[in-house]
Symmetry: C2
Subunit: 256 residues, 2 copies
Amino acid sequence: MEIFYTDMVDGREAKLDSEESTHAVKVLRHRRGDEITVVDGLGNMFHCRLTDDSPKGAVAEILEKVPGWGAHPYSLNMAVCPTKNIDRLEWFCEKATELGVDAITPIIGERSERRVFKPERCKKIVLSAMKQSLKAQLPTVFDAVPLKDFLSQDVPGLKLICYCFEGNARRKSITDVLNEYATKTTGIGTANHCPETPDEPKITILIGPEGDFSPEEANLAVSRGYIPVHLGQSRLRTETAALTAVTATYLHFIHY
Amino acid sequence: MEIFYTDMVDGREAKLDSEESTHAVKVLRHRRGDEITVVDGLGNMFHCRLTDDSPKGAVAEILEKVPGWGAHPYSLNMAVCPTKNIDRLEWFCEKATELGVDAITPIIGERSERRVFKPERCKKIVLSAMKQSLKAQLPTVFDAVPLKDFLSQDVPGLKLICYCFEGNARRKSITDVLNEYATKTTGIGTANHCPETPDEPKITILIGPEGDFSPEEANLAVSRGYIPVHLGQSRLRTETAALTAVTATYLHFIHY
């Protein structure tokens, strides 16, 4: 199943940019009258019929709109320190998109080995992963932001930090914290969950760099309302820890 | 922390092969008398002292043996159809090892696009991931086996197949099936779990190829005792589905 992406949609028709138009017309040889599937990156899928098969700018009439196509019942922002080997973060971006993520915020911490991040490649990867996994919402890949600036923002919802506090005394498992949160709030993730619930839970998860957060950074996050959690006994790479947190969230809401 | 691997261990000393010896002596410049950490791939970690710093075959005296180093409280065999792009399976092997897996069995199904699999690279990858994630047990990467031959084997424990049966009526979520199993059996994964439990749960999970299993293959698996499970609403690539199943198992036993 081939999905086309465009941000040029009005109530009646969807315009494809030159890249998507070329792919539809030159590569897949779609012609006027063919039915195609278009997503707007905002959660909407459109059944369309091609009315203009120009390879520079194809246009399709909207036959049907399907909101929330391939959606997940939570809003997840993964604040992850970019890995030294950028392939590992790019891999995370693909996998997180397949499972379900709303935003990826590259965070630069004191101990980050990589202090520069260019979002272009990751944006291409999440776009391709969105289409491949039949979703209509494009995760936002933000520009890199220093951790202290990120922590100065007011973030609603459940905020978690994966960090190894001395003695573990302060930490619960991510699964326990998600369970407590879900039952405390809307009941999403529980048997009583009703998909119509308007206010889906907002979750933000901080993942540190290879050298982990500094104790000062971790304590600052806690003072800003981030709950310290652990991801179990295994020693995970940064990108593996990040994907494990995404998967824990995904599995928590599996009954949606 | 640098870990060395060897399968040449007797009660008193550990011999390193030429590759590990070169790494220890030429690269890391260890000399006789230095303390090093050695794992045997069978779950044991050894604090050692170098007694022979030959770069061809170093030898170390065992000071302390730590069994079950970095172990997980279950035995997991992932029977996965190799991906057309082998990098994706190799990536899965690394991540599964970081989280905790005992065996990876490449399965060739009717619809497998890749019908030939050379295990050498995956074996190198799990060895490196074992050392990097501070574990002492080396996951076994088997040679590829046709699905029907694999299903003809008698496999103990919990057997799951991730497959989209028409209508989903026959499927439960992997999390529900793991919960039912754990409470039915040793109590592992529950608050009452006692790490000393001798018979750790054995779990085998079947993951199909890009084209999925054929209905005949899926029904044969069910007739052989495999429980159909789903991994949620997202459409996941083969290697992502496989890692999600590994992560679901890992998180289920997170209180170990």
